[in-house]
Symmetry: none
DNA sequence: GCTGATAGTTACTTTATAATAACTATCAGC
DNA sequence: GCTGATAGTTATTATAAAGTAACTATCAGC
């Protein structure tokens, strides 16, 4: 977690105070007024900086859509035993319950927690039984860990876009990578893993 | 406090769910959409009724200015960069911030989150940079993962009580176990790891 | 049958709020 | 002197969201 600049800290503190006192986050102009900033662009950039540093989370286009990380507040995600995918619509199967997590673990709308089944990512320190926090998205950046749907089974793999195909690389030396060519649509990316939560004992 | 009608209860429940999941309250139109009400006047009157019955509080003219009365909170743990231990009193050093977690990850009072430093537990799928949720306790059961203080450094080890000593076993084949005899008090158990939280990307 | 509380609809206006464009200023580090 | 990060201003636009008017419908209780 990066440290904010003093000015950014002021912004953060005001949001925390306001949230604590009123029960919801301030609008950009309210922040601007308090910090004696004329216009909200300055505020916007402070928020962008704070978000990049992982101190808060924002929902674009949503008024007062600011959630501070590490405050007495958390997001409630559904915990799924498995995922099934009919073309990008995630079916919530085997709903195990709900998990409250810090906003810093969640990056985006409609995230959910998926119970990890196999040991395909064991060498990336992801074990069966762990909960993977997943943000639904159809593609990813190189090196991201994604949830891939294959033969009706959801598995975790590392995502690499190469010359004319996509490589889904397990973190398990006993397993082979999957090469995915545009033609065969048998594999589908359901989302990106943004965090791991494991309960011991 | 008056009881809401069934329909009003639905409105209230949706707001509670939304608030929990997203971290802020829904807009009138979002409520309307969810309850399949066309237009937001209907919603407005439900909110007015709920407010009159003392179940929530609204700020006029403020978007998402809904605050529910009497909602439960989740647990907020301090995140420490390291721990130092003067006889069982944990000093909160290098406070990185706070992490909100589900009560299911925390087992006991005064738990905290510790940033994992080395790779002593790498084969137990605990990597450097992970956050270990720790419940302070001076002993443990066989097989538990504990935070042990040694030479001023906190490390994670697996705990085993054997004949006349305690064995602190790393999950890393390159590291040797530590044998701890009652006489030498050079190693101290600070607590037990109850959960692991990792942020990716 | 009347009344009042509850519940809903369509259409609209107003305001709150977020987002963008096009600038300037300061400061640290190379 | 150049660059990039930080910080700020004025202005404008787009959209999110709250609020209002004018209706209808159902149901419980008197």
């Amino acid at each position: 977690m990066q440290q904010p600049t003093p000015r950014q800290q002021q912004v953060y503190d005001f949001i925390a105070d306001y949230q604590q006192q009123k029960g919801y986050a301030p609008s950009l102009q309210e922040i601007a007024a308090h910090l004696k900033i004329h216009g909200n662009l300055g505020v916007m950039r402070h928020l962008q900086a704070l978000e990049k540093k992982g101190l808060l989370h924002r929902t674009a286009g949503s008024s007062r859509g600011i959630v501070l990380c590490g405050q007495a507040q958390s997001l409630r995600l559904p915990v799924l035993g498995r995922v099934a995918a009919g073309n990008l619509s995630l079916a919530f199967e085997e709903l195990e319950g709900y998990l409250c997590v810090d906003p810093s673990l969640v990056h985006g709308e409609k995230s959910f927690a998926l119970r990890v089944k196999g040991d395909s990512m064991i060498e990336a320190q992801i074990a069966p039984g762990d909960l993977a926090i997943v943000r639904p998205q159809a593609s990813a950046d190189n090196g991201d860990i994604v949830v891939a749907m294959r033969n009706g089974e959801a598995t975790l793999k590392r995502f690499f876009r190469e010359k004319d195909h996509i490589r889904l690389q397990p973190a398990n030396s006993r397993l082979m990578p999957i090469l995915l060519y545009p033609a065969d649509g048998e594999v589908q990316i359901l989302g990106k893993v943004t965090a791991i939560v494991r309960t011991l004992a």
